[in-house]
């Protein structure tokens, strides 16, 4: 199979869905060129009526996407950095998430809120967050967090085809990562985890960049510890069954995520494991996530964001 980049996979996925459905369009700041290149080249194919550059107006971008979705279109609203989504909290957390439910289920809101999350680029507290927790916490929003080019393309396509609001967070530190991606049409359904590597001693439930940390460590430790890596791929819906099945097999689990530790996705997943598989656990669940501080710019970043060494220590302690 051919290999393409994570960035190219998302770009290709959006382009395919725009070809497939004339109701799909992209709206956001400077999307014709695109800061990360996610939508670059699409304006040449689809024109400015469907790749829409806006003023710097996050609330208008998000709210317009909600209004457009309500009236029959399938907008993809691009926020560039996930941190900027907080500006549009009303539009994302209240309008998009709630309006179908509070109006008796008569509305359909097929839209995607797309943004780059993640750190390790040393670009500071308001350009590095992984705000998965706040979206996972909010009923009414689906949340996709792909870690590979294959998943990125399959999930952006599933997100665009979904009749509900989907937050699609791609990791800015993985844009150049390459991997096999089929040329034929496929989707990765929301709510289906994948066992990225099989093992028998310790399960690592890993999200986003943590998947790559975990896979690297699994290889490094393979002679001593057999590590199973489970990637939820989407956090809502969450495929807890696949996670629990792995935990029942290994009896030991680390949950690793890049969002802030306190009330983050790792906390929620760990609790669900405890509720469903407590009797199968041979050791307390461990959690690897960002420390409860803002993410500093520059070299201080490593004191807050989870590091491979942290994950390695957790795996070794569990396997101990």
């Amino acid at each position: 199979m051919r290999e393409i980049s994570y960035l190219g996979a998302i770009n290709e996925g959006i382009g395919e869905e725009m070809e497939r459905d004339p109701k799909v369009y992209v709206i956001g700041e400077d999307v014709t060129t695109s800061a990360f290149g996610i939508t670059r080249g699409l304006v040449q194919r689809f024109g400015q009526a469907r790749i829409i550059d806006t003023p710097i107006s996050e609330t208008a971008i998000a709210g317009a996407a909600v209004g457009a979705a309500m009236t029959g279109y399938r907008p993809v609203a691009d926020f560039m950095f996930a941190d900027f989504m907080f500006i549009a909290a009303d539009e994302i957390l209240l309008k998009a998430a709630k309006w179908r439910f509070i109006h008796g289920g008569v509305q359909r809101l097929p839209l995607v809120f797309m943004a780059a999350m993640g750190g390790y680029a040393m670009i500071g507290p308001e350009h590095s967050q992984s705000p998965e927790g706040i979206f996972m916490h909010t009923p009414g929003l689906k949340l996709a967090v792909p870690a590979t080019p294959y998943d990125a393309k399959g999930l952006i396509k599933a997100a665009i085809r979904d009749d509900n609001p989907v937050v699609f967070l791609y990791h800015k530190g993985m844009l150049g990562f390459k991997g096999p991606v089929p040329e034929e049409d496929y989707v990765v359904p929301l709510g289906r985890a994948e066992v990225k590597r099989e093992g028998s001693d310790v399960t690592v439930v890993a999200v986003g960049m943590m998947v790559h940390f975990a896979l690297g460590l699994a290889e490094e430790l393979k002679d001593r510890i057999s590590v199973e890596v489970v990637d939820p791929r989407s956090l809502e819906p969450l495929d807890i069954e696949t996670i629990v099945a792995s935990v029942r097999k290994t009896g030991r689990v680390v949950v690793a995520d890049e969002d802030t530790s306190r009330c983050g996705p790792a906390a929620e997943i760990a609790m669900q494991i405890m509720e469903q598989a407590f009797d199968d656990l041979d050791a307390p669940i461990k959690r690897i996530a960002a420390a409860n501080y803002p993410i500093p710019a520059g070299l201080m970043e490593r004191f807050v964001l989870p590091q491979p060494a942290d994950l390695k220590a957790a795996i070794e302690a569990l396997a101990g």
Binding site: G67, A69, G105
Partner: protein, 330 residues
């Protein structure tokens, strides 16, 4: 544009229905028939009725606002008030005839002030892409002129030349904040200059003045000539929400201010005008009033017969939350 006799009478009847239904809600809270809270729109009926009646098409999009919980708008759009009354009584409406509010382009009321500007922008974007000369009309109070969403949405709508009509229903107060202390100019319509669109101020107590100003703005939007701003000066008779303090900052609103505005009550003014012009037959005003009172009384009875909500199967909540279950269309 000259409205014919029947149209004029229709405007009068709609305003009266909005008023009487508003009074029913206020009374319903006092007597315990109604659940939740209520934001009365008494005194402001000329704005929704004048703006939305005979100016809009069925496929236009309308954002109402929280005053009167949008009853003036839904009535003007031909939506049965059965749903309004039953749901305010905490019950499930039954046997509702006619279009739903969604089928007339009314999708809900934002719980946050100014939360609707961006959605109305989205509807205007849809209208432009549909290319069927639809318009999006967004009503807002003076209080929401403080929101950043207003700037973002008005700015983008003008830049993109979208078919949207912004209508400010300026009743001089936010919750308790007088607009004179919340906005630096006399007229909110002055914003129009900044966003390169026409802006007019009209007497919000005069249903025909509101109708004509909005008609011109809607026409402009339909012709693809971009947004407009219409400001209607009006006044809120009751407190922001029933049972809450009725104050300006921390002091009671001046009674003489309220009484002066009641002299210019939009229903009273229009009734006098229709009588003076000989539009009303003798006793017609009384007859309409009796008919509306009978309708409201019947709605009160109807709503009390509607059942309270029950959930037999908790899975219904999942169906409300997400469309299409977990299936991905392929």
């Amino acid at each position: 544009m000259e409205l014919d006799r029947d149209q004029l009478v229709t405007l009068y009847r709609l305003m009266l229905r909005a008023r009487k239904l508003d009074e029913l809600m206020v009374n319903g809270l006092k007597t315990g028939k109604m659940v939740g809270f209520y934001h009365s729109g008494q005194g402001e009926e000329a704005v929704p009725v004048g703006a939305c009646t005979f100016n809009l098409r069925e496929d236009d999009y309308v954002y109402p606002h929280h005053r009167g919980h949008a009853i003036g708008f839904t009535l003007a759009r031909g939506v049965s008030p059965k749903t309004f009354v039953a749901m305010h009584y905490g019950r499930v409406p039954r046997d509702v005839e006619g279009p739903t509010s969604e089928q007339r382009g009314i999708f809900g009321i934002s719980g946050t002030i100014g939360g609707a500007f961006p959605m109305a922008l989205g509807w205007a974007l849809t209208a432009k892409m549909n290319a069927r000369s639809q318009v999006s009309i967004c009503f807002f109070g003076d209080g929401s002129s403080g929101r950043g969403t207003l700037h973002e949405s008005m700015n983008m709508a003008s830049v993109m030349k979208l078919p949207v009509v912004w209508v400010c229903e300026n009743n001089l107060y936010g919750q308790w904040m007088p607009i004179k202390d919340a906005f630096p100019r006399e007229d909110i319509a002055d914003l129009a200059h900044t966003y390169a669109m026409p802006g007019v101020v009209v007497d919000g107590q005069d249903v025909l003045a509101v109708h004509e100003a909005v008609r011109v703005a809607v026409q402009r939007a339909r012709e693809g000539r971009g947004p407009s701003l219409v400001e209607c000066k009006t006044y809120r008779y009751r407190a922001h929400a029933e049972g809450m303090p009725d104050v300006s900052h921390a002091d009671p609103r001046p009674n003489e201010e309220l009484e002066a505005w009641k002299q210019r009550d939009p229903i009273l003014l229009f009734r006098n005008k229709l009588t003076e012009r000989g539009i009303f037959d003798p006793d017609e005003a009384e007859r309409i009033e009796a008919e509306v009172e009978a309708e409201v009384s019947a709605l009160d009875e109807y709503a009390q017969q509607c059942p309270y909500p029950e959930i037999q199967d908790p899975a219904i909540l999942d169906l409300l939350l997400y469309a299409g279950g977990e299936e991905v269309r392929s």
